[in-house]
Symmetry: C2
Subunit: 209 residues, 2 copies
């Protein structure tokens, strides 16, 4: 029996550099995983390819997918739909492939409900850690800037609580390495491997019995 792959959800606040980290992961020489291509209703841009950059669909097609329960997660931004088609993800997982999603926080929370055994990684802005130092370095930031940053930090920390792991994106290659460590470690978690052992045992017992 093929062991099912692991769903890895990379998310985080906008502007944190999710796309850059994802691209570095895909360009790296790490173990096989597949990237889930998103579906969108926005216009294809020059140089983009259907099925490579996105699955480009009409609004009617996208809404039909939603109606049929075909979207793992989706959202509307600036009048266009963006989302993750369920069928490709499921196919890859069934084939034993790990699948990486790089999605917005709201989408990640939709996936969390549908796939609680996924690995949810929150990419953290480095200045969230340095916040204290920055804010205590008096006179460098205007009071309204400071207040806005504190409010934003509170939001980011509240988001983080819904994830399994927090990875600081201080340097892309460091963030990628941390994510790779997380994937390797998650593959060793007992709830993910115990069925394989039990299945093998049942098999050998049946052969002997």
């Amino acid at each position: 029996m093929q062991e099912r792959g692991m769903l890895i959800v990379l998310s985080g606040p906008s502007g944190v550099g999710k796309g850059t980290v994802r691209q570095a992961m895909l360009a790296g020489n790490y173990r096989d995983f597949k990237y889930s291509i998103s579906m969108t209703t926005r216009q294809m841009r020059p140089g983009e390819q259907d099925g490579v950059d996105y699955y480009f669909r009409t609004k009617a097609q996208f809404e039909q997918e939603i109606a049929e329960g075909g979207m793992l997660e989706y959202a509307k931004y600036v009048g266009n739909y963006y989302g993750t088609p369920l069928k490709y993800v499921n196919k890859m997982l069934d084939d034993g492939q790990d699948v990486l999603l790089e999605i917005e926080v709201k989408g990640a929370m939709q996936v969390r409900e549908k796939c609680p055994d996924g690995v949810f990684i929150f990419l953290t802005p480095p200045d969230l850690i340095e916040l204290k130092h920055r804010l205590t370095a008096r006179g460098t930031d205007a009071p309204d800037v400071i207040e806005r940053r504190i409010a934003q930090a509170a939001d980011e920390i509240a988001m983080m609580e819904n994830y399994d792991y927090a990875v600081v994106n201080d340097q892309v290659e460091l963030a990628v390495r941390r994510i790779e460590r997380i994937i390797e470690a998650e593959h060793l978690r007992v709830p993910r491997v115990i069925d394989r052992y039990k299945g093998m045992l049942a098999h050998t017992q049946a052969q002997q019995g």
Copy 2:
């Protein structure tokens, strides 16, 4: 505020090579962690040192530690006590050090109850994975050997279910690397880091308020 260290419990069935893996971890150049020295009532052997190989104590001293709740875990083997003194472990954790325990399965279950936020790693005999192949290679093992190995495998799989991670000890250096990955990944888990973020936020808010 110093962040509390992480308790790492390495255990597994007897004969799996826990001691060898632990020694390789201590000899390696991985991040700092402290090894918790066990306490015992057995005789000191030539070349051994009190406080290095073990804390050597009399039976009366050991039983007083037990009575005072001073043992994180303990057991009696062949008339002698072996166990982990709580105070040293706590001190190291409070100092922000990760602490490695290498203990028997029964002891690990005692620690599990007292320290549910520890990281529990089960070292797995490689032949548990190869069991199927070995047993299907007809004629190489006597039927009673096969039956005994299957019964033992069932025990080992039942033990494994109480752990967070299963690490196959096929090669010591590979097992060590897997354990290191687990430690690195565990340090990124949200429940372990969120208090630091929240504390920092409370601090900056208080400064601005």
